[in-house]
């Protein structure tokens, strides 16, 4: 398999968590993912970066099938993504996702946001689900907000609730889709701190982000995408210090100028 060869430089921590082989996707005539080969091992932390419109978000949205790919193979936790709804539900139970715009449920309290999926998907008794939710709300350091509604919280708090909500399903893999892009600078730090803490627990993570500091601290590997392709990937220090392609050089110079 050619996907395995591209991984030669990356750190292997365990069994494969996610395998993408020859994945292609089009939006109408627009070819948004071109021949993507990517392996992520259990416990690995991968940061995906690249200019806007490069297909990073589409890539991770394909992993839990919020987007459908048209060609190639995606295997998550040993289950291949297909049109079979049962396998899709099984994958979504094991893969948590955090969105750029939080997407909390505004008609439910913070606690209810967190217990909804454990109750309805994991079939957990309410008391147990609430205890679990409080545990994770404490871990993201906002247990005192449990009875409030999302509209009453700041952006940073909402995003931390969104992380807790995903963790309540005890996923094996977490996907982050630009989790800090919609936040004020002062709130970015509290969310990143939460993500670093999560990384330290050994969670398998794929993060689409422009936060290069975060990539340096926690990522085992950085994947650089441009125009729907994976252009370069490697250990963060090396990738940032010695970019091999012009496209990555340009991207890095733009990102660094911005900071």
């Amino acid at each position: 398999m050619s996907a395995a060869e591209t991984l030669a430089s990356s750190v292997r921590k365990g069994a494969p968590a996610i395998t993408l082989a020859g994945v292609n996707k089009w939006f109408g005539a627009l070819h948004v993912l071109r021949d993507i080969n990517l392996d992520v091992a259990m416990g690995e932390r991968v940061v995906v970066c690249g200019p806007s419109g490069s297909g990073k978000s589409t890539l991770i949205r394909c992993i839990n099938r919020l987007e459908e790919h048209q060609e190639g193979q995606i295997v998550v936790d040993g289950i291949e993504l297909s049109n079979d709804l049962r396998s899709l539900d099984a994958i979504r139970r094991e893969v948590g996702m955090v969105f750029q715009s939080f997407n909390l449920f505004p008609h439910l309290t913070i606690l209810e946001n967190c217990t909804l999926a454990p109750i309805w998907v994991r079939k957990m008794p309410k008391k147990e689900a609430e205890a679990l939710a409080m545990e994770y709300l404490e871990r993201v350091r906002i247990p005192e907000q449990a009875a409030k509604y999302p509209g009453q919280l700041s952006g940073g708090q909402q995003q931390r609730v969104a992380i807790a909500r995903a963790l309540c399903m005890k996923p094996k893999i977490m996907l982050f889709d630009e989790p800090t892009s919609a936040l004020d600078p002062e709130m970015i730090k509290e969310v990143l701190d939460t993500m670093v803490m999560l990384a330290e627990t050994g969670m398998t993570m794929i993060c689409v982000t422009h936060e290069m500091g975060f990539a340096r601290t926690v990522a085992d590997r950085v994947v650089f995408m441009d125009r729907g392709e994976i252009v370069e990937q490697g250990v963060p220090e090396e990738l940032f210090a010695n970019p091999r392609t012009d496209r990555l050089k340009t991207f890095l110079s733009q990102i660094l100028r911005g900071h």
């Binding site: 839990n64 919020l66 709804l85 539900d89 979504r92 139970r93 893969v95 948590g96 996702m97 969105f99 715009s101 997407n103 909390l104 449920f105 505004p106 008609h107 909804l116 999926a117 109750i119 309805w120 998907v121 994991r122 079939k123 957990m124 008794p125 309410k126 008391k127 147990e128 350091r141 005192e144 509604y149 509209g151 009453q152 969104a162 909500r165 995903a166 399903m169 509290e190």
Partner: protein
């Protein structure tokens, strides 16, 4: 990011702002404006009142409610309660109110069902269905209701007579005498079965609540529909069977120039109901569509990413949020159906306006007649508003 203990200084309330007697104080200015407006309104009403009394006196018109107990002598074709022309005006007006309520309530139910289906259809991925719903909404919304009522009424009037009536299914006849439907001879057993049906609906509601509470305790998700089926359909059937299962069909039959037996829907009522339902369904369709679209795609995605199946996403996430957008304009549409039913006058359905109008002409009690019409619509409309506002408040979104 602050912890649980709050600085006591943060709990201090804003001090009350004293009122300054000065034109540059906004609050003072607002109070003055409000006093002036109230005074102007009171003066206007006072003038109208004295003017009316003066003119009534000059024309020697007696006012009062005495006429209500006099014999009406006015024939009414359709009545839900016992009525003949020898009864009082009060009784006649009551028949009118019930006729208005009949068309309004059935219209509201049908328009809501049809409108919701059309609204969802317009969002369908099926091209044909979406375009059909779109075309329907555009045509129905853009033509005046009165025109549509006249159209349906003339269409029904233009149907062939009873002898050549359309007979699509055995027992169903559509002619210029209206719609005839098969019915059964109503017996006590049927009333008991109907009661059992209502009981079935009520206990299904409580069963659902109990099942939900039990789920919250042990986590098991229990399907409701087997119980609902047994309670809502099974129980009435059982009661009916236990009471000897009486069933005497009452099928309309052509006798001479008209039909005998069966359930009778007059062309006037049918045209009015058809017009009101089809017209209002167009508006309700748009309201439902807007409500569903108002829930962002992100809500679907977040719920699906958590592993919730589509049906649960709809019930637990999308509908509760869509309802908040749907309820207030829906209330307006319910009020519209009720008030638009007064166009019944144009096609000869005897609703409250039609009967109050005749009363007014026969007795000359114009002010009382108009007052009765206004009172009836106000009462119905305020009842609908109160109920819908209560419901809306119950599901309101908390922000800040």
């Amino acid at each position: 990011m602050s912890g649980a203990s709050t600085d006591p200084r943060l709990l201090r309330k804003a001090p009350p702002r004293p009122l300054r007697i000065s034109w540059s104080d906004e609050r003072f200015r607002n109070i003055v404006y409000q006093v002036l407006v109230v005074a102007a309104v009171l003066t206007l009403f006072g003038w109208l009142w004295s003017n009316t009394r003066y003119n009534l006196e000059v024309r020697r018109i007696a006012t009062g409610w005495g006429f209500l107990s006099r014999e009406a002598g006015l024939p009414i074709g359709e009545h839900l309660i016992d009525y003949d022309p020898s009864m009082s005006y009060f009784r006649a007006l009551l028949v009118g109110v019930l006729n208005t309520l009949k068309v309004a309530i059935i219209g509201i139910v049908l328009a809501t069902v049809l409108g919701t289906l059309l609204g969802v259809a317009r969002l369908s991925r099926n091209w044909m269905l979406a375009k059909f719903a779109g075309a329907y909404v555009e045509i129905v919304r853009d033509l005046p209701l009165l025109l549509q009522l006249l159209f349906w009424y003339s269409l029904l009037q233009g149907l062939p007579g009873p002898r050549q009536a359309f007979n699509p299914v055995t027992g169903v006849f559509l002619s210029n005498r209206g719609l005839k439907l098969p019915y059964i001879q109503w017996e006590a057993a049927h009333s008991w079965a109907l009661l059992a049906f209502v009981v079935g609906v009520v206990i299904t509601y409580f069963y659902r609540r109990a099942a939900r509470a039990k789920q919250m305790r042990d986590g098991q998700i229990r399907p409701i529909w087997p119980f609902a089926l047994a309670a809502i359909l099974g129980l009435p059937l059982l009661v009916w069977a236990a009471l000897g299962a009486p069933f005497t069909p009452d099928v309309p039959e052509l006798r001479g120039f008209n039909f005998r037996g069966g359930l009778d829907v007059s062309p006037e009522f049918f045209a009015l109901l058809l017009g009101l339902t089809l017209y209002t369904a167009g508006f309700i369709a748009e309201i439902v569509r807007a409500g569903i679209l108002a829930v962002s795609q992100g809500q679907w995605e977040a719920a699906q990413a958590l592993g919730l199946p589509r049906g649960r996403v709809m019930n637990l996430i999308v509908l509760p949020q869509a309802m908040r957008v749907i309820i207030p304009p829906m209330t307006s549409q319910f009020l519209n159906i009720t008030k638009n039913s007064s166009l019944a006058v144009a096609i000869g359905y005897q609703d409250i306006v039609s009967i109050a109008n005749t009363t007014l002409n026969q007795t000359g009690q114009a002010i009382e007649g108009i007052a009765i019409i206004m009172l009836v619509y106000l009462t119905i409309s305020l009842s609908i508003s109160l109920f819908m506002n209560w419901y809306n408040k119950r599901i309101a979104l908390v922000e800040r």
